[in-house]
Each structure stands twice: as C-alpha cells, then as structure tokens.
Symmetry: C2
Subunit: 396 residues, 2 copies
C-alpha cells in the first residue's frame, strides 16, 4: 500500500472538527447555492465550504453550476491545491461559508450513467437466489466486468427523498400494477469521468477519472424481476439513484494511501483488462438504516477495478464524456453482515433484520432512511465521503 | 385514418423538387453549421434550409446549436407555421441556404436514450433463433413494452462513419477479443421528447413528444450474445447509434394522416398502457445496403405504440427531460423481406442476401453503406425523413 500523506487539521487557521470526513487531506469538490448567489463550485472543508470564486481561484471555472467545466479543463488538482494553500495561509474568513448557509446541489451534469456488477460475492449471492439449480456465476462474469446503462436523468443528490415506485410485477401469480413491495438499496461507489476519451488504456484510468462518490442504486426487486429479461433492468432501477454530494478526487484517494492491489483474477483477463498498477481502493463502507448500522464492508475486495471498468466501457470505440458516471455495482463481502443490499442481508426476505428500536425489516418501509458512509485512511490522513442518504416516501 | 392536409409545393415561391421528402407539408427541424456562422436551428425545405434567425423567427430560440431550447419552450409548432408563412408569402431568397453550403449536425443535445423492443415479429424471430426450445416470446413481452437504456453519448447524425467495434466474444468455443464478425443493423423509429414530465398519461403523449427520426441501432451480435446476461446489451450496442438529422414534428405526422389504430392487444394491458387515441403511425420504411433495397416494411403494425412507451417509461416516477430520445426497437413485418435486421433477413446467416452487384451478405462487411428511409402520406401531403446512413470502417 502507498504511504499516505498527513495534513494535521491544526495546521489551518480554519477550525476543522477532529475526525471530520472533510479534513485538509480531502478537500473534495461540490456545488452549492445560497440565497442571492448563482450556484457555484466549492471545496468542502470541515463543516464549511471554500467559495473558490471569492478566493480568486480560477473563477472562470468555479463560478459555475456544475463541476463539468472544471473537470474538462484538467485544472482540478491545481484548484484543490490552491484551496489548501488558502486554508494553510494567512486567515481569510471571508472565503468560508458555513454549510448551514447553503443548499447542496447535484455536483455534476451527468452524461451517461453505466452501472457495473463487479463484486463476486454479490453476483454469487444473487445467482444462488435466482438460479438455485445452475452455476451461481454466469459464463461471462469472470471474463469481463458486466455492466449496463442506467438512467442519468434520475440521479439525485444525497438528501433527496425517494418516492416508492409503482409498476407491473407478478403478485400472487398474477401480473398486476401497484407500488413496489420489495424496495431495496445497493451500496456502491460511483466514479466521475473528468477528461473525455475512448479506447482508454487500463493503466491510464487515473488520467480520465476525476473522483469518486458513494452511490445508492435503489432497486424495486419485484418490478425488476418481472421486466428484466432479455434486455436488463429498466423501471426497477430508473426511478432514483442517489449520490453523495462531494466528489473525492483521485489525488485525495492517492494521498490517503487508498490504492492497493485487487484480488487475483482467474482466468487471467484479456490484454485490455490486464493492469500493471494497483487499482483497487481500500475504502471502508457502511450502510445505516434509521439508527442501525446494517452492513459494514470494504471496497478493496471487488473483483473488477474501476480502471478495468473504464477500459472495458471504451474498448469498443465508445467515448466517455466529461461528467459521465459509472457505478461499481453492489459491494458485498463474504460475511453475512458485509452484504450491500437488503435482498442479500435478509436472504430474499427469509432472514429479517432487527433494528435498534426492536422493529424488523426485510425490504424498505415508507419513512425508512438509508445512509451510506465511506472513508479511507486514518488519523490526519483520513478522508471520507460524507453521507449519501435518502428517505422513502409512500407511492402517490 | 385521419384526413390529410395538402400543401402543393407549387404554392411556394421557393422551388421544391417534386416528390421531395421535405415538402411544405413536412418542414422538419434540424441544426446546421456554415463557415463563419454559429450553428443554428433551421427548417428543411426541398434541397435547402430556412435560416430561421435570419427570417426573424424567434431568434432567441433558433440561434442555437441544438433544438432543445426551442423544444422546451413549446414554441415549435408556431415556429414551423411561421416558416411555412415565409415560404408561402412574398419571396425572401435571403433566408434560404442551399443544403450544399452547410454541414448538418446532430440536432439534439440528448439526455437519456432508451431503446424498446416493440415489434412482435422481431421479438418472435429473435426468440426462435436464440431460444429454439422455449416460447418465442418471454412472459413479460405482451404485458409491457420491454426496453432498456442505451448510450446517449454514442448517438451520431446520419453520414457519420461507423467503425467496426471490437470486443470479447465466443469464437470457435473460446472467449477471445477481436473485431466483431457479426455486425448488424436495426431499423427503428426514434422519438424526441420536447416537454419534460413524469407519470405521463398515455393519451397525452403528443404533448410531450416533439417529433420523430429514423434510427439505426447498430449491433455487434457476437459481442452482445456473450455479454448480455443478466443485465442486458452493453458494448454490443454502445459503439454507435445513427439518427436521421431532420426531426419530423408530431404536427407534420398528424397533418400527413399518419396516426392510425394499432393492432389489437391480447391480453388487454394495464390501465396506464390503455389508450383511447390511435397512436400507431402509418410509416413506410426501407433498408438499403449499398445499391440494393433489402427490406421494405411498415411501422403501423408495431405491437406497442410510442405513447405506450412514454407512459411506461415514466409510470414509476422517472422523469423525461427535453432532448431525451427513445427508439421503437427493430421494425419487422411478417414477410421475410419485411425484416429490419440482418440477423433476421439472413436467418442468423444461414440464408445470405444477394445484392444488385451479385455479391452476397450475411452480416456487414467493411465499406458497406446502409441507408434507412421512411415516409408517410402521398401526393402533396407526402412527407419523409430523408436518409439515415452510415458506412462501415474497418476496426483500428
């Protein structure tokens, strides 16, 4: 594992709470609005944001309602370092805005959204449940990172309520329309494309990925299982996908010592998927339902890396554009409490979870709140994503 | 069928070739660039375009590099009528630009792209080929319009060359990487969303759809068949999708008497898919390979209508945005020469086509050019889409 770089929070004139996800080591980008101002690109620090345009940091890129221009410019790393310089230099309280005074917005204008299926444990668990008599993994799974396009227009920022979707499903053996009764979550990590490209070399992935977010791929299992043959999921997924608002940069992940070697792959994949660099990410991930932590897992065991996903997505000549988003697929570990979806955590509803208030759950009930959390590193090199949260509202 | 409205081309001061797809009855929208000018929204007429901004027609909407602003404004029908008034009024040759003097661009900034699978003949043909021992249609097919998300960033305008994609496929029983050897076409009609919405009433679909284009969903069958389980097609489709450049408006389709009753549906679909209005479209469609017409079919027999697709896509709460595109899926009729893909026309390569030059084809060869054509109405109410074309370039 790479050696991490430390940035003690005490070295800034601005007070950063101890243990904050948003230490000087992180400085992720986001977009906020405040009354009387246009939406603007900011850097998050502690419980506040740095108004980059007010600080005079590349205002032609940062006085913008999305990160896209900044990401396309290639100036992201320099802007982040300039923000750190401000926080380490002479006090400039006029460039700091408390988070309580802003509305946090979706940070990117998303082009295409692709969702992968890269956890061997998750694919195996779902295979066992849905194809009990066959091989748990399909023949393609270890040859390429299986993925499909999701709905970019339904990606929402953390904190947006999620309305329970309705659709056709098999209900008591009949095809009937109604609200989903098997509403689920998927704990994922999402990657944001900065620089456009095609036929991207797997070992150059870090030149094209701007950063990462947490991603909850809400899933209506009953709608999904009726509709998905032969062309894949559609309405069972397209109603909402939530991402965390702060894009943690590739540089922050590297400085925190997050990059590490992925699990060995057998069979050895095709040349275009074979990497020299260690593209796994040592991220600790958690899922909280209401006040109970229901899953705690790691991203480092994912079978396919984000670099392999990007190389795969573009090997056929397809371009990625600035603002494209791709998700890892559900992150599930080997142990029962390391699974990243309710269908796995409750084994298709047969093993209900018990929450701190004594109530039990199989799938999501109206009013339930899900929070995803993620972090890397420790001590003064620790960085985090902040909450990726949503609350279920009843079907209309 | 609705009574069509006639607009004799002779009633304009501008000369429109007899039999042009772009008669006074049509006046579709597109976007062009010419040297020394910004890209602009135009209306196509005969072999020329009307420079709407130069004609003083809503320049704040038409001096734009895409149709999106115009579509979102709801002023499309009024702008089209104003263009017709110009062509029927006193001569104003200064607002006409010959097509030869412009570059035709992709007309829309596409949000999400969804592709359906709405032809019963096509779904049955593919079912017979891929699942010879099972039912040709899967259990969900007659209950809902099956569809999935495609890659918006790979949609290109007619005339763009298509580079043969490479990918992993089963080749002689082994998983190997290489150029696709089963490169195919799909004859489709695409629909462009004008006004945003969600939970759209099937009988209000015409309030949200701005117009239609021809669409070729190029498909690498070998890549697709290896990758597509369980999440649907990805790299087998994502390398390119071609659309015709002129968006034929809902108003033009209506005036040409195109709307008609769809085939009866059995079983009767769910309420949200049950329409009072006749949403089928009586379009004549053709596929040409090099100089040979290889398919001639009609859109009117499609099992699911565009209105049902739009209602379905939004019934779970998902929004459609201005510029979203959805495709019908391959249009195949009952007869062998009415099929809309090579895999069907050659029955998986077992019945090669013979072209006018005496050569034979199963799937696409490098250098082959495909042209899709489509039209509706007849005489002075006839309208057409113009060519939707692409030529295959070798894999790099």
């Amino acid at each position: 594992m790479a050696v991490s770089i430390t940035y003690p929070s005490s070295s800034s004139w601005w007070q950063i709470p101890v243990g904050s996800d948003f230490s000087l080591a992180n400085l992720p980008f986001g977009v906020v609005a405040r009354p009387g101002h246009e939406a603007m690109v900011v850097v998050r620090v502690g419980d506040s944001v740095v108004d980059l345009a007010a600080a005079g940091i590349e205002p032609e890129l940062t006085a913008a309602p999305a990160l896209n221009q900044l990401m396309a410019s290639g100036r992201g790393p320099a802007v982040r370092l300039a923000a750190r310089d401000v926080l380490l230099g002479p006090p400039r309280p006029e460039v700091i805005v408390p988070l309580a005074d802003v509305t946090v917005l979706l940070p990117i204008d998303i082009g295409d959204y692709v969702d992968f299926y890269a956890s061997e444990q998750h694919a195996t668990n779902l295979g066992k449940m849905f194809r009990p008599d066959g091989d748990a993994l399909l023949p393609n799974w270890k040859h390429l990172p299986v993925g499909y396009h999701g709905r970019a227009g339904s990606v929402v920022v953390s904190g947006t309520d999620v309305v329970r979707p309705s659709g056709l499903a098999l209900r008591d053996g009949e095809v009937r329309f109604g609200p989903s009764t098997l509403l689920d979550i998927e704990l994922e990590v999402g990657f944001v494309v900065g620089r456009p490209g095609n036929r991207i070399d797997v070992d150059h992935a870090d030149q094209y990925v701007f950063g990462a977010v947490l991603l909850n791929d809400w899933s209506a299992r009953d709608i999904q299982s009726f509709e998905y043959q032969p062309l894949g999921p559609h309405l069972g997924k397209s109603f909402a996908t939530t991402i965390s608002p702060w894009v943690v940069t590739i540089e922050a992940l590297r400085e925190a010592g997050t990059f590490c070697s992925p699990p060995a792959q057998d069979p050895i994949p095709a040349d275009y998927l074979r990497a020299e660099q260690p593209w796994a990410l040592n991220l600790d991930l958690e899922v909280h339902m209401n006040d109970t932590m229901i899953s705690s897992t790691s991203f480092r065991e994912m079978y396919w890396t984000f670099a392999q996903m990007l190389a795969h997505m573009t090997v056929n000549g397809a371009s990625v554009r600035t603002g494209d988003l791709f998700g890892s697929g559900t992150v599930s570990g080997a142990a029962a409490n390391q699974r990243g979806s309710l269908i796995e955590l409750t084994w298709r509803g047969t093993e209900p979870l018990t929450l701190a208030d004594g109530s039990t759950r199989t799938f999501l009930q109206d009013g339930d709140t899900i929070v995803l959390r993620g972090s890397a590193g420790s001590g003064s090199s620790r960085i985090g994503f902040g909450d990726c949260t949503g609350t279920i509202l009843p079907a209309p």
